[in-house]
Amino acid sequence: MAVLNEAKTAAAFKQALDGDNDVYRAFLQDISPVVRGLVTRKLPSFDSMGVEDVVQETLLAIHSKRHTWQPEKPLLPWIYAIARYKSIDALRARGRGGAAASDIDIDEIEEIEAPPSDFEESLDVSTAVNKLDGKLASVVRALGVEGISVQEASERLSMSENAVRVAFHRGLKQLVQMRSSLFGDP
């Protein structure tokens, strides 16, 4: 299993918080396998699709709650705590609304266990973004795909900067949820 170095990871995260997009991307890519490993261990009953949902939820939570990290405190326990919280949350959600294994028709099992291998590929970013509500789609496309600044986006879409930020975050959240519902999981 992948291992993270506290000092290196924290230094990268600090740099990312100062606005370095490339370092931030590398940071998120570096922590993903570790988060995946942790989630897999926490949720032995989840298939790889289910695990990936929780991984994405965790990354999004790390992103939206990044102000709750105290730079003088270690970063890795903070990341693990978020992954643990999201894992427990997923387990609870499955217990509440998810179909029990016995409810699934035998014919469906094949479908669930072997999704078409290119299904995930077919659902690329632009397809997914197009499925968002109008305003959210334009914000996510502008910031995330084109990579323009919040200020430019706020002028182009005549929204306040704060509204742009909120819409962007809501858009990301919807994208993550869209993925879960598309795969019918849980």
Binding site: A16, S32, H67, T68, W78, Y80
Partner: protein, 211 residues
């Protein structure tokens, strides 16, 4: 969407200004102010407050809840950071509970048995049980609002601690009105009201503090 695509999207946002967490202290000051104004307008401060405030049994009515509220507020401040574990923290509540029981039994011990019931029931029992949670509501709402900006990883316990803290702070306000000065009264009913507010917080926590 692939995880890498999500990462690419999020990476564009690194420079975005972070929403700072509002101050818990400020929220408590403001919402306690609201409770105080409500108390003055609808309940009124007891007329003899100035004379009795120096009496120890009146003073501890306000002092004990304050002493419980302080560690609760400290815990709530920490709980906004997800790595904070609140496990087993509620057990510390046994200390003030033991103090309340000691106060009540000592008071009853020096009273004749036929005065026990009237002392315990007092004359404002229902008002007390209603007023403390009611005056605590704005305080609790303010706390949950501030906690929501953080990332509490144990919403149920965080909610319960917020409820107990709000109940204690509201008791400090309500005790300015309440003229029941026997520890046999307030030791039981203030404790019950604070626990009730704590229970409300525990129920609201998982609903409002999810992230």
């Amino acid at each position: 969407m692939k995880t890498n695509d999500l990462i690419d999207l999020m990476a564009q946002e690194s420079q975005l200004e972070l929403t700072p967490m509002r101050s818990l202290t400020l929220s408590v000051v403001v919402t306690m102010g609201i409770s105080f104004v409500l108390l003055v307008s609808f309940w009124g401060i007891r007329p003899d407050m100035a004379q009795v405030i120096s009496e120890p049994l009146v003073l501890i009515k306000q002092l004990i809840p304050a002493l419980i509220a302080i560690p609760c507020l400290w815990l709530l401040k920490q709980s906004r950071h997800p790595e904070t574990s609140l496990e087993g923290r509620l057990r510390w509540g046994l200390i003030p509970a033991a103090i309340a029981i000691a106060l009540v039994t000592t008071t009853l011990y020096i009273l004749p048995a036929n005065a026990w019931l009237t002392t315990i029931v007092g004359t404002t029992l229902i008002a007390c049980l209603f007023s403390i949670p009611a005056l605590g509501a704005p305080i609790l709402i303010g706390m949950l609002w501030v906690l929501k900006q953080g990332a509490p990883s144990d919403p149920k316990t965080a909610g319960a601690i917020a409820g107990i803290a709000a109940g204690c702070l509201s008791t400090i306000v309500y005790a300015l009105h309440c003229y029941e000065d026997s520890p046999a009264f307030y030791g039981i009913w203030y404790t019950a009201s604070i626990l009730m507010t704590g229970l409300i917080g525990q129920r609201l926590g998982p609903r409002f503090l999810n992230w």
